[in-house]
């Protein structure tokens, strides 16, 4: 029998072989395109890990994914699906960009205000599907997904009109003044204090599930029936979980716009909110597992950029590798837990007089 800690360990241990299998399988795909898989792997190495600047690229690429995945993971532990992270990160980016553009003050004023504004916007947007679920029984998957489109179109409208930068002819904001940028953490890279913020959030999410409230969420996720039996206030917990999720989702947008792009454009996100779900699953829903999974996605993403540059391969390649990795991990975990269940059927756990109830079921 495994302790819960060991179970979590085994979850993370599944990520490594899955990543290797996904890379091997994708080698075939690359070969199909007439490129030697070894060249491709070399590109991934040099683009994603091989140098300080490559590492910088990787870390920059993984940040929004990491936040989005953590955002998804919090309600997911309670069996709730926030598919609306994409919209939450758009609104987070939007409000922090507005603060950055309009509030002229020193960094130590602008940056915290912008960050809080982004978190608040994401939080407010995420609470809507939670409220609809709790008060009206509306399926949160559908409502949160649909609110994404509303948020994105709303942002696009502002970018094409009220917030459009003068004289470029592209629907995007002006460059946000330096005062609102995240300060650089490692010289000559794009690594900023946003990375530290991400690490803090990883630790906080990890800690959350050791608090009584986090335990409530875990019970809700494991069995809604037991949560009702115990009298856990599921409605309130749902709203709080979505609020936390939305705030973290907002941070994904904030850190990208104030730490990397420095302006907000239409089609700002390549779907981080959705890819983040895959990252969360790859990481087994546990904060530090998610950090590892995000690192993997970051390396593959940065490597794919290098492959586009060196080997003229479409960066869509990264999505294939990532998707295969997630599916392999899921299969791996399922097989393993089935094996554990079979082991649990061994008779030493049943009293000798009575075979387990599985027989009578």
């Amino acid at each position: 029998m495994k302790s819960p800690r060991r179970l979590a360990d085994s979850r993370v241990a599944a990520v490594l072989p899955a990543a290797l299998i996904a890379l091997a399988a994708s080698g075939g795909l690359v070969a199909l395109a007439g490129v030697s898989p070894l060249d491709a792997y070399r590109s991934i190495w040099s683009g994603g890990l091989g140098s300080t600047s490559a590492l910088g690229t990787t870390l920059v690429m993984l940040l929004p994914l990491l936040f989005a995945a953590l955002a998804f993971a919090v309600p997911f532990r309670a069996g709730l699906y926030n598919i609306g992270v994409e919209g939450q990160l758009y609104l987070g980016a939007l409000s922090s960009a507005v603060v950055g553009l309009k509030l002229h003050a020193p960094t130590y004023v602008v940056l915290p205000v912008a960050v809080l504004a982004g978190m608040a916007a994401g939080m407010a947007w995420a609470v809507i599907p939670a409220l609809l679920k709790v008060t009206r029984g509306v399926n949160e998957i559908v409502s949160s997904l649909f609110l994404n489109y509303v948020a994105i179109y709303f942002t696009n409208w502002l970018l094409a009109g009220p917030l459009e930068a003068p004289n470029i002819g592209v629907a995007q904001t002006s460059i946000i003044p330096d005062a609102a940028h995240f300060p650089v953490l490692v010289a000559d890279t794009k690594i900023t204090y946003a990375l530290l913020l991400a690490l803090v959030v990883v630790v906080l999410v990890q800690a959350l599930f050791r608090t009584p409230f986090g335990f409530d969420l875990r019970i809700m996720g494991a069995s809604g029936k037991v949560a009702d039996y115990l009298g856990i206030r599921s409605g309130r917990a749902t709203i709080v979980a979505f609020a936390i999720s939305g705030a973290i989702g907002g941070l994904a947008g904030v850190c990208e716009v104030l730490g990397n792009q420095f302006f907000l454009s239409q089609d700002f996100s390549p779907g981080w909110g959705y890819t983040g779900i895959a990252v969360a699953v790859l990481g087994g829903g546990v904060a530090w597992g998610i950090a590892l999974a995000a690192a993997f996605f970051g390396v593959i993403g940065a490597g794919a950029l290098q492959m586009q540059f060196v080997n003229q391969l479409s960066p869509s390649f990264a999505l294939v590798v990532q998707a295969v990795a997630v599916i392999v991990v899921l299969l791996f975990l399922e097989w393993r837990s089935r094996g554990a269940r079979r082991a649990a059927d061994r008779p030493e756990h049943a009293s000798p007089a009575a075979p387990t109830e599985a027989v009578e079921a």
């Binding site: 029998m1 819960p4 069995s223 037991v226 009298g231 061994r346 009293s351 009575a354 387990t356």
Partner: protein, 539 residues
């Protein structure tokens, strides 16, 4: 092992005449041998009882006979022809039908649709024709059910009739009834028996499993007894009486102890007389439309109030209302004089209310959690279980679990064992250990021995008696009259969601309880409720 064959059956009749024959059938699940080399022969027109403890392998055997499982070894013969069923479909094709213990019907379809579900035939369904045919069949067997009614609008009894009708529709060679009487009141049981006898008269072989031995003896021509996956013996109707069957089911050694739990013979009347009822712990008041209240229930410290009733008459609703899981608009609940109607499960637990619901292994335990977490589900917020100000101390939970595992003798468990890996009896112990931990003054239990073998059920009964003797009030809601009679000091009857009568254990007569359970006796213990009197006054 003794030869399982009944001498009268096997020697006089040629093998080809058996409606159903199992030869040396074995089935294994993982390391558990569910059925071992079973021989069973059933003649057309015979009603055969099949009894055994939970886990004795009855359900597996019936699943093999009905094509749901394939045996690892051995043969199934129908009408003397060896069959290798790959699915239920093939067994049904030969006229072998099973009525499952848990109703297997589509709630949002009509009776007729349910009857023809899975039947082969022309793709296009002509519902009118089907409805007429179903109606004709129902009339033929005097089964009262409307083929056009939606199943969700039917009572549990009616749903079972639909199941039987479905079986008859598909074929009448062998009919297997798995615990069919658990949802029936005494009158409906007689009706079922009449249908069974009618079928047998037409040459259908009927197999009847039940844990109510009196019923088995009443209706069956012969009774086969299973134990530990083996067929112990088959006894004829003349030899069979509940005591004999009980002894065969559990083996000689255990029998003396077991018949108490099994048959309700363990009457500690002497103890009951000596004990005195204490102060009122629980009062349940029924609200009527005109703001008047009628006392529905009163439970005192030091007593077990048994609540009898046929399954589906509001047992879960009442239990949930007592524990605060759901709010019942029609009921006001007072705990030791305090109105707790508005309080949820947590507040009530803090006031000494404990609750072991129906099927506790999934409704009161998280199967995926380790035992230590499940033991802490009621009080993980307590300051004593914190590390620092904010965090749960999983170490403290673990330390406490080790104690509870020892105190309650939870076998096969360490604090880190996944709860799902424990046997049903030990999962029940985990729930009891947690719920009795704070010495609650009110404990509600629902069907505590369902799914447990005799030994485990006895442990549970002992724990309940011991807790009562410590001065607690216990509400025991059970669909098993034997269990109610064995444990209760007073017995109340639940019918259509309301208590229709309360009697002292000593005065409780089975026939009278049966009438109350099926709504045939009025509430003559008390005046009629206000609203009904009011309606009489209207000219």
């Amino acid at each position: 092992m003794r030869s399982p064959t009944s001498a009268t059956a096997s020697e006089t009749v040629p093998a080809t005449a058996y409606a159903l024959e199992l030869r040396q059938v074995s089935k294994r699940f993982g390391a558990v041998q569910a059925n071992r080399a079973i021989d069973l022969q059933i003649r057309p027109g015979e009603i055969r009882g099949l009894v055994g403890e939970n886990g004795a392998g009855k359900s597996t055997l019936m699943a093999i006979a009905s094509g749901l499982y394939r045996p690892d070894a051995g043969q199934v013969l129908v009408g003397g022809v060896s069959c290798d069923f790959k699915s239920c479909d093939e067994a049904i094709g030969l006229g072998i039908n099973m009525v499952h213990q848990h109703v297997m019907l589509l709630p949002n379809c009509t009776v007729a649709q349910n009857v023809v579900l899975g039947e082969r035939g022309s793709q296009l369904l002509r519902l009118r024709e089907v409805e007429a045919a179903v109606e004709a069949l129902a009339e033929q067997y005097r089964i009262a059910v409307d083929p056009r009614a939606k199943v969700e609008s039917l009572t549990p009894t009616e749903r079972q009739r639909v199941e039987i009708l479905t079986a008859l529709w598909r074929g009448r060679t062998v009919l297997i009834l798995d615990e069919p009487t658990s949802v029936l009141g005494p009158a409906d049981v007689q009706e079922l028996f009449a249908t069974m006898r009618r079928l047998a008269g037409e040459g259908c072989a009927v197999i009847f499993t039940s844990h109510k031995l009196r019923e088995v003896v009443e209706v069956c021509d012969a009774v086969s007894v299973m134990r530990h996956g083996e067929l112990q013996t088959t006894v004829s109707r003349e030899e069979a009486d509940p005591d004999v069957l009980a002894t065969l089911m559990v083996g000689k050694a255990l029998a003396a102890k077991a018949d108490h739990a099994l048959l309700g013979l363990g009457d500690d009347a002497a103890g009951r007389a000596r004990r005195e009822r204490g102060a009122t712990v629980l009062r349940v008041l029924e609200r009527s439309r005109s703001d008047d209240e009628r006392e529905e229930l009163r439970v005192c410290s030091g007593e077990i109030l048994g609540i009898a009733g046929v399954e589906g008459n509001g047992q879960k609703e009442l239990a949930d209302a007592l524990a605060g899981v759901t709010r019942d608009e029609r009921r006001r609940i007072e705990l030791a004089g305090e109105d707790v109607t508005a309080l949820g499960p947590m507040e009530r637990a803090a006031r000494g209310v404990a609750y072991v619901p129906e099927d506790p292994s999934t409704s009161a335990l998280v199967p995926a959690f380790p035992v230590s977490w499940n033991l802490g589900l009621r009080d993980y917020r307590a300051p004593a279980l914190r590390r620092g100000r904010w965090f749960l101390s999983f170490d403290a939970l673990r330390a406490r679990a080790t104690e509870a595992i020892r105190a309650f003798d939870i076998r096969g468990a360490t604090d880190a064992t996944r709860t799902a890996a424990l046997s049903g009896g030990n999962q029940q112990k985990v729930v009891l250990a947690r719920e009795l931990d704070k010495d609650p003054k009110l404990l509600t239990v629902v069907d505590p021995s369902v799914g447990l073998d005799v030994g485990a059920a006895q442990n549970v009964h002992q724990a309940l008696r011991a807790h009562r003797d410590r001065g607690a009030a216990i509400v025991l809601i059970s669909t098993d009259l034997d269990e109610i009679e064995a444990l209760s000091d007073r017995i109340a009857v639940l019918y259509r969601g309301a208590i229709v009568g309360v009697v002292e254990r000593a005065e409780a007569e089975r026939r009278r309880l049966g009438l109350l359970m099926t709504g045939l006796a009025s509430r003559d213990e008390r005046p009629l409720p206000e609203r009904e009197e009011a309606s009489h006054e209207v000219p």
